[in-house]
Amino acid sequence: MSLQASNRPTESEAQVDLLESFRALYRIRHFERLVKREFEQGNIPGFTHLYLGQEAVAVAACAHLDERDYLVSNHRGHGHALARGCDLVAIFAEILGRAGGLCKGKGGSMHLADAVRGFLGCNGIVGAGAPLAVGAALTAKRRGEGGVSVAFLGDGASNEGVVFESLNLAVVLRLPVVFLFENNQYGEATPARYAVGAESIAERAAGFGLKATRFDGTDYLTAHATLGEIIHYVRESGAPACVEADVVRFEGHYVGDSQRYRSKRDVAAAQAERDPVARLEQLILERGVGEADALAAVRAAVEKEVEGAYLTARRQPFPEPAELFRDIYATDVGGPILPRGRSLGQGEVVP
């Protein structure tokens, strides 16, 4: 129920491998840059929402999660999947709609999921992931192995009814779920300061009876420490909590958004001052954890890894036609059972 402005890392910073953290952040950074480039060139189909500017949050959260834990993501989920360690080629393949994608190409950018990593999926319906995370926390609780569940949600999502309901349900049932709101200041074209009537998302959540904290999500060490504390609290107490990460959405809502509603100046300033990747780089240099060429080496390695994965994914075939009809049910069928194998209006395609 306490609302702390936790800007100071409490955990020993020595425990954090800054160079490896940088690698993780930069992997997301380069991944998203590549997606942007390829999308703009028409090589990636559909809609896509980039995680640029928010990298530190996913990486910091996942640093405290293990195989007992569950994650639920939203439409802006590439970074969550990458931070959780999902296969790079399979993520790309999914975004490209290929057979080897995480979801066999049936989900796409907005629907990455990875069951073996407890990654219950991105979601195209704003806020809809919140109760899924509550349900996963119920499973974790019954399993009794200390697992927790994390729901990644946006500032815009914080206003959806099902999210409020989920906060209350998690408190009432005392379930180990972390509602992690990434406040990137906008829901599409609408500023959070307009759409969230309360003082803050965290303060509003605190009123529900959860422990709630707000922090600067562009500072990796702060993110790491705050999320470490919260996840530890939830794991130990079994009670839910809420964290609000202040970040900046570097790009438009989706690739292609002209952002006429947003001042170019503000965006440029944010990119200059609140870039989590640049800030971590600077910290590494300042602390002498690594030299400029160590960083350059990480960058080069990541770029190679990411570009290579993309090319591999692009060489994959599309799913075969029969896939259209698979994975609807686990057992037998639903829908009309027609006489003697007649088919249901789908023209020439036959299951």
């Binding site: 569950y70 639920v72 994608g101 995480l102 979801c103 066999k104 190409g105 049936k106 989900g107 629907h111 999921a113 990875d114 069951a115 407890g118 219950l120 999926g121 979601n123 195209g124 319906i125 809809a128 919140a130 109760p131 899924l132 995370a133 509550v134 349900g135 996963a136 926390a137 119920l138 499973t139 974790a140 019954r142 399993r143 569940s149 009814g161 099902v162 309901e165 989920s166 209350n168 349900l169 009432v172 049932l173 698979r326 994975d327 609807i328 049910y329 686990a330 057992t331 037998d332 069928v333 639903g334 829908g335 009309p336 059972i337 027609l338 006489p339 003697r340 007649r342 209006g345």
Partner: protein, 340 residues
């Protein structure tokens, strides 16, 4: 002889004892939480009586009135290994959690390329007749029958209720299990032992070569009475078919009957636009046209909300007499087909 209400409760007791993964989520499924009377409700219709006392609050979980959240939680729990049973009191309330049904429960398996299975059952009541007004009397199941990824089951008597609920709970897919609020106390002969009724197999309540009548839930019960009277009074022999599961829907059985009778009457209480009757009529019109000897007939509720006034609700609902008349009219339609 047992009532639907009784067998639902029995199946839940038996299945929960058999499988630890089953949990119940809903409003007041225990009742009185935090008081000395905890467990004293057992759900709005008594389906969950005694479960709280027997299995405890870890498995019989009262939820705040926030359907979207607990239906969604059941989906998340099912994805991660539990087998939730959700109580949704009245299916009129599917409207407040339709996203969790349509965009989550129904699609998550497909969207993830089959990575997850979602073994869960939602139990809920449909139907008019209790003067419950426009928001508590609907048969709003067409919007879930329409969704690939869900299975939709109806049970019009205790025999079907027992076998279908047991099968639903053991099924690895999400199942919407619907009962009619006017039939809960109806009693039927029910075997003592465990049995499961497979989905997608229609039940023939009567057999006859003159006409095919298809109906579920309360309309099936009315059709049973009407068909019995037609047989006794007029020697008219009907195939009376209850598809029981609406998804999968056993069109094949209906087609086989229509091949013999050439005449089809569908009696249905769901909305008369884009409803169950329209689904069946459309399937038959496409796939059994050459066997039809008369226009398909649909006897349904009118295109109006459910009125409260008893005088109007009685007009709203198809009656046994109307079913009889429709069958007679259908048989008189012979001329129409001769004309062609």
């Amino acid at each position: 002889m047992k009532s639907i209400r009784e067998v639902i409760n029995e199946v839940l007791h038996a299945e929960m004892a058999r499988d630890e993964a089953i949990v119940v989520l809903g409003e007041d499924v225990a009742g009185g939480m935090t008081t000395e009377g905890a467990g004293g409700f057992g759900g709005a219709f008594g389906f969950y009586s005694g479960l709280y006392e027997r299995f405890g609050s870890e498995r019989v979980i009262d939820c705040p009135i926030s359907e979207a959240s607990f239906v969604g939680a059941a989906v998340g729990a099912a994805m991660t290994g539990l087998r939730p049973v959700i109580d949704l009191q009245f299916f009129d309330f599917m409207t407040v959690c339709y996203d969790q049904l349509a965009n989550q429960m129904a699609k998550l398996r497909y969207m993830t390329g089959g990575q997850f299975k979602l073994p869960l059952v939602m139990i809920s009541l449909v139907g008019a007749g209790l003067r419950a007004g426009a928001q508590h009397s609907q048969s709003l199941h067409p919007p879930v029958v329409a969704l690939p990824g869900l299975k939709v089951v109806t049970a019009a008597d205790a025999y079907d209720a027992k076998g279908l609920l047991s099968a639903a709970i053991r099924d690895d897919d999400p199942v919407i299990f619907l009962l009619h609020k006017t039939l809960l106390e109806e009693k039927a002969e029910v075997p003592e032992e465990d049995y499961q009724i497979p989905f997608g197999e229609a039940r023939f309540l009567a057999e006859g070569d003159d006409v095919t009548v298809v109906a579920t839930l309360a309309m099936r019960r009315k059709a049973e009475a009407a068909c019995a009277r037609l047989a006794a009074e007029a020697g008219i022999a009907a195939d009376l078919i209850d598809p029981r599961t609406l998804s999968p829907l056993d069109v094949e059985a209906i087609a086989e009957s229509v091949e013999v009778t050439g005449r089809l009457l569908i009696v249905d209480e769901s909305t008369p636009c884009c409803g169950i009757a329209q689904e069946i009529a459309s399937a038959v019109a496409q796939h059994c046209f050459e066997w039809l000897r008369a226009p398909i007939r649909v006897l349904s509720t009118p295109f109006t909300p459910v009125p409260f006034s008893p005088a109007l609700e009685d007009l709203y609902l198809p009656t046994e007499r109307q079913i009889e008349n429709s069958v007679r009219a259908l048989l008189a339609d012979e001329s129409a087909s001769v004309l062609r």
